[in-house]
Symmetry: C2
Subunit: 160 residues, 2 copies
C-alpha cells in the first residue's frame, strides 16, 4: 500500500520475524503502525503515530497503538525518548549504532539527537565500580538558543 515497498521492505520483514518469534500475530494494524513509525524521520508521539497509521489503515485505534508501542520498543525497531514532558516521544531506530544523547532546545521546543559514544565507556566504568550491570542510559541537555544569534537552533545531527 505504501509508495515504495522496497524502501523499508526488509525492515518490515524484520518486524514480521520478530512478531513470529514471539508468537504474536501479524495484523494489518500492527503493520500500519510500523509503517507509520518508519515513515517518520523525526520524533513522534503516540497521538502522531495514531494519526499517521490511520492514513494507512483507517481502522487503527488508539488502544492498538498503545498496545503496539511496547512491542516495537522491545523489538528494538523503535526507541522511546522521554524528555520529561507529559507524553513520551518515540522514533524509528533506523541507524542506531552509538549511544545517542538528546539536546532539547527550550526556545524551539525541538529535540535533537547527537552521538555521544563516550557515554558507552562511561556507563561501563561506573557500572564496574558499583558492581552493577547497566541496562540503559539517558543523557539529556536542556539548552537555549543564543538570543543574539540570527538563526536559532542551527544544530543538526552533530557528534559530540
Amino acid at each position: 500500500m505504501a509508495t515504495s515497498e522496497s524502501e523499508s521492505g526488509d525492515i518490515r520483514d524484520t518486524f514480521k520475524d520478530f512478531l513470529a518469534s514471539k508468537s504474536l500475530r501479524v495484523t494489518n494494524q500492527r503493520l500500519a503502525i510500523f509503517d507509520a513509525a518508519y515513515g517518520h524521520s523525526d520524533h513522534f508521539t503516540a497521538e502522531d503515530l495514531l494519526e499517521q497509521a490511520r492514513e494507512i489503515d483507517s481502522s487503527v485505534s488508539r488502544a492498538t497503538v498503545y498496545r503496539a508501542l511496547p512491542i516495537l520498543t522491545e523489538s528494538g525497531l523503535i526507541r522511546e525518548v522521554d524528555v520529561g514532558r507529559d507524553y513520551k516521544f518515540y522514533m524509528a531506530n533506523k541507524n542506531a549504532t552509538t549511544f545517542q544523547a538528546q539536546v532539547i532546545c527550550l526556545d524551539c521546543d525541538k529535540i535533537f539527537e547527537i552521538d555521544a559514544p563516550f557515554m558507552e565507556w562511561y556507563g561501563k566504568t561506573v557500572a564496574g565500580k558499583l558492581g552493577l550491570q547497566v541496562e540503559s542510559q539517558r543523557l539529556q541537555v536542556s539548552a537555549r538558543c543564543p538570543k543574539d544569534a540570527q538563526s536559532p537552533c542551527m544544530l543538526k545531527g552533530k557528534s559530540a
Copy 2:
C-alpha cells in the same frame, strides 16, 4: 511545631526570604509543605509531600502542594528528579554542590543520587561546540543488581 526548630531554621528563613523577594506571601501551608520536603531525606512524590505536609498542617490541599512545587523548585531549595515514570520525584536540595546523576535500580525500584562532577565540564564543552547555553542536564543510568550477589543494591552515595 517541628521537633528541632534550630536544625532547619536557617534554611526555612531562606525560603521565607525567597518568597519575600518574589512578593509571594508566607503562608502556613507553604511553610508546612517546605518543612515536609525537608523532613524527607530521600526522594518523594507530590502525593508523599501532601501526606506529610498534612501531618504538620491538616488544611494543606493537593492543589496547594502542586502550586508550591514550582516555587520550591525555582528557589533551588528542592530539586525535580524525573526518571521517566508517570509521576515526578522531588528531593530537598540539602547539600547540592556538584552535578548529580541518578542510578535507578530496576530490581529494587530505588533511585540513588551519585556525584558526577565531570558532567559539568562535559555540558560546557558540548554547549560551546554547538553555540548553545546549557540550562540543565540529566544523566540517568538504569541498572540491575547482580543476581548472584548476597545483598542487592549495596551502593550508597558513592561518587563517580
